[in-house]
């Protein structure tokens, strides 16, 4: 009962501030744009360029739909992780932990409620991002004479795993926010790591076999493994050595990161004096 009230309250917090739909709109636009570009390049224009003697990475037809649809998470995952982080750091920034802990003094209950709520929000972000990537992608693929893959149950399983990945990323964000309560610092770290540092690490790690064994545990790599396809792994796969985890291992890596971040955040900043 207490937990349900806490969950309900956390939903109310999100719905009463406009951040959730601002980020959602940007996510959908970004994913739609990227999926559209990829479908156009590898679909229509790619065929034409090959016909006219140009070089375009050759991707088998069957791999195209998953590659394009999974843009929802391979590109879009930064949005749920950012939103999850903000949902925690905003409490520190605006000192709303005071009324929060006054109305629910059991701090662990509040943090668990946040994790649950953000998992749901992350899943919703995932569904919205899929509407964008599948919507644009499928239309462009079929317009250029490629299969959409939507008749295959494998494609739908992939879409479900995209939703799962997005939910886990939002939960990771909550833990990160509890670990790094400074909102500005948390945003910079999330963006720098996901947009810059990790892509480089993944690329460098793929140079040698032993580093690739480590690199596959990087969060973005684990996320792509969970989903089962990504523009990164597809392109990387042609250039050299890659290793990926099984999809369920990727899920376990993400879940572990979420749990560890939340647990350390709880033990450090979340239980601290609220002054």
């Amino acid at each position: 009962m207490r937990f349900i009230s806490a969950v309900h309250s956390e939903f109310a917090k999100i719905l009463t501030v406009r951040m959730w739909w601002v980020l959602l709109i940007v996510l959908v636009a970004y994913v739609a744009f990227t999926a559209g570009i990829l479908a156009a390049v590898f679909g229509g224009f790619g065929d034409k360029m090959v016909a006219s003697g140009g070089t375009v990475p050759k991707i088998p037809d069957a791999a195209l739909p998953p590659l394009i649809y999974s843009v929802a998470s391979s590109i879009g995952y930064v949005f749920p992780v950012l939103f999850g982080t903000l949902s925690t750091t905003t409490e520190f920034r605006h000192q709303t932990l005071t009324p929060t802990f006054l109305s629910q003094p059991h701090r662990g209950t509040v943090l668990s409620a946040k994790l649950v709520v953000l998992a749901v929000v992350g899943a919703i972000y995932g569904i919205a991002a899929l509407v964008a990537s599948v919507g644009f992608g499928a239309v462009l693929l079929s317009a250029t004479g490629h299969g959409t893959g939507l008749e295959s149950s494998e494609t739908w399983a992939l879409l479900a795993r995209v939703v799962m990945a997005m939910a886990l990323w939002a939960v990771i964000g909550v833990g990160l926010g509890a670990l790094i309560p400074s909102q500005a610092a948390a945003i910079v770290i999330v963006l720098a790591f996901t947009q810059f540092l990790e892509p480089i690490l993944r690329l460098v790690a793929s140079f040698w076999e032993w580093t690739a064994g480590v690199g596959k545990f990087l969060p973005g790599a684990a996320s792509d493994a969970l989903v089962g396809s990504s523009v990164f792994t597809s392109l990387g796969g042609m250039s050299g050595e890659t290793q990926t985890l099984d999809w369920w291992q990727g899920g376990v890596v993400l879940l572990s990161m979420a749990v560890i971040a939340a647990a350390i955040g709880y033990l450090t900043t979340w239980r601290k004096d609220v002054t």
Binding site: M1, S5, A6, H8, S9, A12, K13, T16, V17, R18, M19, T90, H94, Q95, T96, L97, T98, P99, T100, F101, L102, S103, Q104, P105, H106, V110, D273, V274, T275
Partner: protein, 298 residues
């Protein structure tokens, strides 16, 4: 409203690293009265209130409401209503939504929101984002949050701060009304004059330690005698010989701890003609400042 509840503090202490913010503080706050919690800025008032509410963990000691620690209250907001000084609002959320979010968490009936918004006079601005609120409006919203659970205990940190004269008048009568309904009302302030018209009891702390706990009247004991003579040197010598505690003023000598009769007799015996002799009541504010001044103890 829950039954009459007493706030109890037992040996409450808090160290922030090497800094001793609150030391061995014990007091109780009774229902049906408005109790002023006073001390200069930095005396440890806010830290003490936050320890009462489970927001700050005491280094030692306990705090309870009717014997139950805040975090163990089954219905915290319906037992203790709190308005703390820091404006803890998300600027992008409306006042009504702010109250709604916490009403849900505390399982308080939604109908209470309109009632308390009306009570603090924010009905008109309830849909506006709190980011655009004035300090006075934020104080009112903080108070609405405190009243939302219709609690038997109210803990208000500097509630008068930022209110206009009309608002101050309003909050004074509200506090009186709440106490007369049998509620326990604790309000903090760094100015005695700010609350002296609305409180029945006062607790004064300085440098984190208790320096006074009792009625207002008990504080007004400080008085001194002002005396002067054309021959001030002779007067000073006579009073010094009589063991008086003398402070030199431009307008004469201030004698603490002696009545005007005693001072007059000393002067008569010494044959010093007086030009001025009067009793001066130093007032509550002076008594307060003496208590909390340098050294902290009377």
């Amino acid at each position: 409203m829950s039954t009459r509840t007493t706030i109890e503090c037992e040996g409450l202490s808090k160290n922030f690293g090497p800094v001793r913010a609150v030391h061995d503080l014990s007091f109780s706050v009774k229902p049906g009265l408005v109790t002023g919690f006073l001390g200069p800025n930095g005396a440890g008032k806010t830290t003490t209130l936050r320890m009462l509410l489970g927001l700050v963990r005491p280094t030692r000691g306990t705090a309870s409401f009717g014997g139950v620690a805040y975090k163990d209250l089954p219905h915290p907001l319906a037992t203790v209503g709190t308005a703390l000084e820091a404006s803890s609002f998300h600027p992008g959320r409306s006042a009504r939504d702010h109250l709604w979010v916490y009403a849900i968490a505390a399982r308080i009936d939604r109908t209470r929101i309109d009632i308390v918004l009306e009570q603090v006079g924010l009905t008109e601005s309830a849909e506006r984002k709190v980011g655009g609120y004035s300090l006075g409006m934020r104080q009112r919203l903080g108070l609405a949050f405190a009243l939302m659970g219709n609690p038997g205990v109210l803990v208000l940190d500097e509630p008068v701060n930022g209110l206009d004269p009309e608002g101050i008048k309003w909050i004074r009568s509200l506090l009186r009304e709440l106490a007369s309904e049998g509620r326990t009302v604790l309000i903090s302030s760094h100015l005695l004059s700010e609350v002296q018209q609305s409180v029945d009891q006062i607790i004064i702390i300085s440098h984190g330690e208790l320096v006074y706990d009792g009625g207002l009247s008990g504080l007004d004991v400080a008085q001194r005698t002002i005396v002067d003579a054309p021959n001030r040197l002779a007067l000073t010598a006579a009073l010094t010989a009589a063991g008086a505690n003398i402070a030199s003023l431009s307008s004469g000598l201030a004698i603490a701890g002696m009545t005007s009769v005693q001072v007059g007799e000393i002067a008569l015996k010494a044959g010093v003609a007086l030009s001025h002799l009067a009793t001066e009541h130093e007032g509550l504010e002076k008594a307060f400042l003496d208590l909390v001044g340098e050294g902290g103890k009377p």
